[in-house]
């Protein structure tokens, strides 16, 4: 099954890196959408069918935290898995993000192998 993926990051370079890494990890992609912040992401999520979201935390206009909170409060969007991609290494922060609805956490810098494993685990759990 090929996925529709949304990549949310204010850095266009990181969006390109995630896109490239998904290819190297051989994650099957149908459509890949991009957003620069949580607000743009929510707008795309309400218009398009998305299977999986990769999101940064710190972004202007709307952070990844606020986006995840709004998704969790939305009856339609709450089941779309969000993988947080961030440079922060705090286990406390990761726990907080999982509590509000994130499904996984990937720390930068990351490898294609890590992305492949996280996507596999996340999508398996989402489809249970």
């Amino acid at each position: 099954m090929a996925y529709n993926v949304l990549v949310v990051d204010d850095s266009r370079v990181i969006r390109a890196v995630i896109k490239k890494t998904l290819g190297l990890a051989e994650v099957p992609i149908n459509e890949l959408y991009e957003a620069q912040n949580g607000k743009e992401a929510l707008s795309i999520l309400r218009e398009k069918h998305v299977d999986l979201v990769f999101s940064d935390i710190h972004m202007p206009e709307m952070s990844g935290v606020e986006m995840i909170e709004q998704m969790a409060a939305d009856g339609v969007l709450k089941d779309i898995p969000v993988i947080v991609v961030s440079s922060e290494g705090s286990q406390t922060r990761m726990g907080e993000l999982m509590e509000i609805g994130a499904r996984a956490y990937v720390r930068k810098p990351f490898t294609p192998e890590l992305i492949r494993d996280v996507v596999k685990n996340t999508m398996e759990k989402a489809n249970e």
Binding site: D10, S11, R12, V13, I14, A16, V17, K20, H58, M59, P60, S86, S87, E88, G89, S90, Q91, T92, R93, E96, R107, K108, P109
Partner: protein
């Protein structure tokens, strides 16, 4: 926190450059930090937590092209967008900051990081940064890279 924060910052930056841009940083001779380039990119980021402060990076624009190519896995000759160059330096600094605070204080404390500020600077601003006593110089692909750390506050 037992290690010298400046050493932790230098080690973290070296690892991030290798892990993200596949580029290796070396310690330069002092004269190798001099350059004839006229345009440079400077990025800063602030962090707040058990330790608060600021990290900065500065590179000649030509090195930023190499770094962007390394991060994207592309040919430096195909790197055209100046916006991407600033974006890359800001993101390398962002990742360095996140990994630095964890290396310094462990994986429990929460730090708030600002969004990186990136701007072009001229040679006189570069020289001022280079000559600052807190600046650590690196040689990356034969080009100079400057990094510095300012600690404002340490809790406890």
């Amino acid at each position: 926190m037992s290690e010298d924060p400046k050493h932790v910052m230098a080690d973290t930056l070296t690892e991030v450059l290798e892990g993200m841009a596949f580029i290796f940083a070396e310690s330069p001779e002092e004269e190798e930090l001099a350059t004839n380039e006229t345009e440079f990119i400077h990025a800063t980021i602030e962090f707040r937590g058990p330790v608060s402060g600021m990290l900065g990076l500065a590179v000649p624009s030509s090195l930023c092209t190499e770094l962007t190519a390394g991060v994207l896995g592309e040919d430096p000759g195909e790197m055209t967008s100046p916006a991407n160059l600033c974006d890359t330096l800001g993101e390398l600094l962002n990742v360095t900051c996140g990994n630095f605070t964890t290396a310094l204080c462990g994986d429990q404390p929460v730090f708030d990081q600002s969004i990186p500020r990136v701007a072009k600077i001229d040679q006189s601003a570069w020289n001022k940064l280079r000559d600052h006593p807190e600046t650590v110089g690196f040689l990356v692909d034969g080009a100079p890279l400057l990094a510095y750390l300012t600690i404002h506050k340490q809790r406890g």
